[in-house]
């Protein structure tokens, strides 16, 4: 493994922000993997660190394919991580809304540019992400549909679900979108948890990425078999929003099958304890996402169900 500083930023009074890349193998740029672009993505950084550990073992035992180079960046914005912030330390901008970046621009545009230059030219790009809303969900892979990446390639991860998303205006400055514009086939891998650590979900995602790398021939160690991936359009997922604000209780865990008309959650009045809203599903299916905070506002996404 070669550990290198891909981009370095100076600060008035802190240590430099050194974006570290871990490189394995050599030759053709095969896969690049990016962990935390935001300060709260601890799980995503953790997954990368576990992947680096595994890759070091594969490298030692000669199981990285010849003429294959793999780059892993566990975290970009650890400056914010170290001070408990989600977005950039000053100005609160989101590095994952700054791609492809600009070397003469604002600070986070410069960081995005510096890192993106090192991420260009790979055949595949994998970004570890989580939902914007806090909640529990099933690990899955997502593809931003630009026409460049083949949705069927998502099957290589062997995760239960592969989701196709139509890009919205604000997606055009993300890493995933820009990777595809610069001809890297890009995937976003969602694991449960963001600011905490979920070991089960982590192992599942590490296994999925190794499976992907084996499938494209970047590594030679066969991995444990995965699922046959079901490919779904994001817009076909049934979503339930809260019809009231209050204390939220889910009655079923993620992954459980639910029947049409089943009560799957409740909203309780925080003052008198009365149930003010019963959340029922109109369709039978599998609970894919559920909100996990104790307090909920009205019109908040509380369940997503794959029907």
């Amino acid at each position: 493994m070669k550990k290198e500083i891909l981009y370095s930023l100076k600060s008035p009074y802190r240590d430099n922000l050194d974006v570290i890349g871990c490189r394995f193998g050599s030759g053709k740029k095969s896969v690049a993997i990016v962990g935390a672009t935001r300060g709260n993505k601890i799980q995503q950084m953790y997954i990368c660190s576990q992947l680096v550990r595994t890759m070091k073992r594969l490298e030692k035992t000669g199981k990285i394919s010849p003429n294959c180079e793999i780059l892993i960046i566990p975290c970009i914005n650890y400056y914010s991580m170290n001070i408990g912030k989600r977005f950039w330390t000053m100005g609160n901008t989101d590095i994952n809304r700054m791609f492809p970046g600009y070397d003469q621009g604002e600070t986070t545009q410069r960081i995005a540019d510096g890192v993106f230059r090192k991420l260009e030219g790979y055949e595949y790009g994998i970004q570890l992400v989580s939902f914007y809303q806090t909640g529990n969900f099933l690990p899955h892979v997502k593809l931003m549909e630009t026409g460049f990446t083949d949705p069927a390639d998502m099957e290589r991860f062997g995760l239960k679900y592969g989701i196709v998303r139509k890009p919205r205006p604000y997606d055009t400055t993300t890493l995933n979108y820009n990777w595809q514009i610069w001809e890297t086939k890009a995937f976003s891998v969602y694991s449960n948890e963001t600011s905490g650590i979920d070991d089960v979900s982590c192992s599942e995602v590490v296994a999925a990425i190794l499976r992907f790398m084996y499938s494209i021939g970047a590594i030679t160690e066969k991995s444990v078999p995965g699922y046959k991936t079901e490919i779904i359009n994001e817009s076909d997922i049934y979503q339930i929003r809260s019809s009231a604000g209050g204390i939220f209780r889910a009655d079923v865990p993620t992954g459980s099958p639910v029947e049409q008309g089943q009560v799957i959650g409740r909203i309780i009045d925080p003052i008198d304890g009365k149930t003010i809203s019963q959340i029922t599903t109109e369709y039978a299916g599998t609970v894919f996402f559920e909100y996990n905070q104790p307090l909920i506002n009205e019109s908040t996404m509380c369940f997503k169900i794959i029907v």
Binding site: L9, K10, S11, P12, Y13, R86, F87, M90, G91, N92, R97, Q104, G105, E106, T107, T108, Q109, R110, Q133, R168, P169, Y170, T172, T173, R241, A244, G245, G246, I247, P270, I271, L295, I296, N297, E298, S299, T300, M301
Partner: protein
Amino acid sequence: MIKTVTETMLAVNEKLRIQKSTIKNGSEKKRICIVTGTHGDELERQYLAWLIGDELRRNISLLDGTVDIYPALNPLGIDSITRGIPQFDLDMNRVFPGSRNGTMIETVCSAIIDDISGADICIDVHSSNIFLRELPQIRMSVPTSETLLPYAKMLNVDFIWVHESATVLESTLAHSLNSTGTKTLVVEMGVGMRITREYGRQIFDGIFNLMKNMGMWKGDTVEPRRPIISQNSAVGFVNSDADGVFLPEVSFGDYVKKDDVLGNVLDPLRGEIREVVRAVCDGLVFTLREYPIVYGGSLLARILTIDDKTVKGGGEI
């Protein structure tokens, strides 16, 4: 009359409520919307909204038409010194046009759009952020400039910045309204978290001048300033290359020559100057950094060059 545009239940005993004040008189059907407060840390427009309401309340007989004032589109942000929407860490001006069946913020944005849509003109007033001070100006994208320029010239600003359109800006309130036929002008002025009385008065004069031109105001108005109209290429950006403490050597609104010293980036630990910051072109300093701590890349100033690409005195592009 105070009206509720939309309300949503928060978790504990509170509603997120967007309110507006509707001031109406006479038989004229025209309607103008003054919208402020998507960014909770921008407060200049609070004074402007008050000024307009105060003038109309005292001289209601001079009004012919409807004025809707929305002083706080992001009430949770304004009440908690937060630019975005607290708890969501989300820039509200990247969520428009929203969606009727979307998340809480999307439904709020969609209700705001529905409420404003159909107005003859909408003015979305911003006041930069806590980092930069801005001369009163109107910003518009090239595709909207043909429709909007005649109105922008009435608003008593110092200049009008016509910029390239960026896909990411398609999620702003102004773009959402403009693309569905409600003419919306974006005013930028001053600095975040502060109120500059003179700018409030300047845009106040502009709005009443605009209303007079639209046949909605019978009172006296002032002759508007003739703005400089600038294309994107005529704006020079000065970003810091060093990190440290920026201390300007020029004043906001100064005319500078290329290579003039705009300020220094200081290193207080070593007592050294990290960078001498120079003007990238001749022109007017219309943006100047207010918040002193900088990283490499921090925007320090914007300079408007006055050349053949800019048109002085309100001429056509």
